[in-house]
């Protein structure tokens, strides 16, 4: 269990500490309004380094994304995140603990969420911000083309 960094064992706290990991800062935070959730079309944007088996694996400092069509079978999902400092056994056991596509599909079925994107996406976290920016801009266009009006951002 991850609590506050100050509560973690020293080696883990040091690894995750903001002395070592330089987080980007922003002067302001945009917040868009939208329709009720029951009318939204939601895409999952993961940073777990997920992709379909056979797709190009992620490499260090890779700011690009991989495309995961909604109909991708769980058996085709693999992870090539370069970090070795997070648990992978949860994903091995159940992909939804990282990529909750079946849970999202259920929320669409019961009317909580309007609809689900036809395509989802994964980056590999810890990317250099400058490397990801052009890909994220391109991704925004793809999401709009799919009429997506909400992105669920899931780290790993």
């Amino acid at each position: 269990m991850v609590r506050r960094l100050s509560e973690l064992p020293e080696v883990e706290a040091k690894h995750l500490g903001t002395d070592r990991i330089k987080c980007p800062t922003y002067d302001d935070t945009p917040l868009l309004s939208g329709t009720p959730l029951a009318q939204r079309r939601v895409a999952i944007v993961s940073t777990a380094g997920l992709h379909r088996r056979g797709d190009r694996a992620f490499d260090r400092d890779d700011g690009s994304y991989r495309v995961i069509p909604a109909e991708t079978p769980a058996s085709d999902l693999v992870m090539s995140h370069v970090s070795v400092n997070f648990d992978r056994t949860g994903f091995q056991q159940d992909h939804n603990v990282v990529f909750p596509i079946d849970r999202l599909r259920e929320l669409v079925a019961d009317g909580t969420v309007g609809s689900m994107a036809s395509v989802h996406y994964s980056f590999m976290g810890a990317f250099p911000v400058d490397a990801a920016l052009p890909h994220a801009k391109h991704l925004a266009g793809l999401l709009k083309a799919d009429k997506v009006d909400a992105a669920l951002l899931v780290p790993v």
Partner: protein
Amino acid sequence: MGALGHFLEREGIPTAGISLVREHTEIVRPPRALWVTFDLGRPLGKPDDAPFQTRVLRAALALLERTDGPLLVDYPEAVEGEVDLSGWACPISLAPRPSDTLGAEVARLATWYDRAVAARGRTTVGTSGLDMPAAAALVSGALDGALPPAQPLKLAVDDLRAFYLEAASAFPDPGTTKTRVAWFWDETLLAKALLRLQPKLAASDDGQHKVLANLTLIPATQRHRLGGST
């Protein structure tokens, strides 16, 4: 993760995200974040617990309807610790035998891996494009001869690690994820090979080998096993 919230929201896509490290999210200040206290690698909390995952997902998506941010909301549910099985012993004997090899260890695990795949209907092995004997041969060759390029070696190692841990999940008494990870590092030839490979990679003139040695081969929590070599 938080940076993507800024990017996408500025481009017209509303976002809500999960935060695993509150201190990072406090700095990045993305539009909407739900902080959870789950293990890294498990942002939805519990594998094979759909109701738990759904509660987390509902809480994250509910943030979309708010514009009074940046929002950083604490999720109230925690995952209880796993049962302490500190006395657990691997029920499958993988103890090295005379003239044992990494390839032989991989072969001994194959039947358990097959059982795991049959039970789950899927595997996370498969980023390297190699079968496991070939991946083991790549690691053995790296130890005994010239180092291959870092990226294929890294993917082979990650595939092997997934293969071992998936196999161990199908043991007759599989213990917990923590005991299986401890088993991997305490008892397997693969772990010993990785610990031996690390200083060789660190001494390479290739910068990518050094990155592998220093960052992406041995987890931070296991680097004490390297002794004074780092």
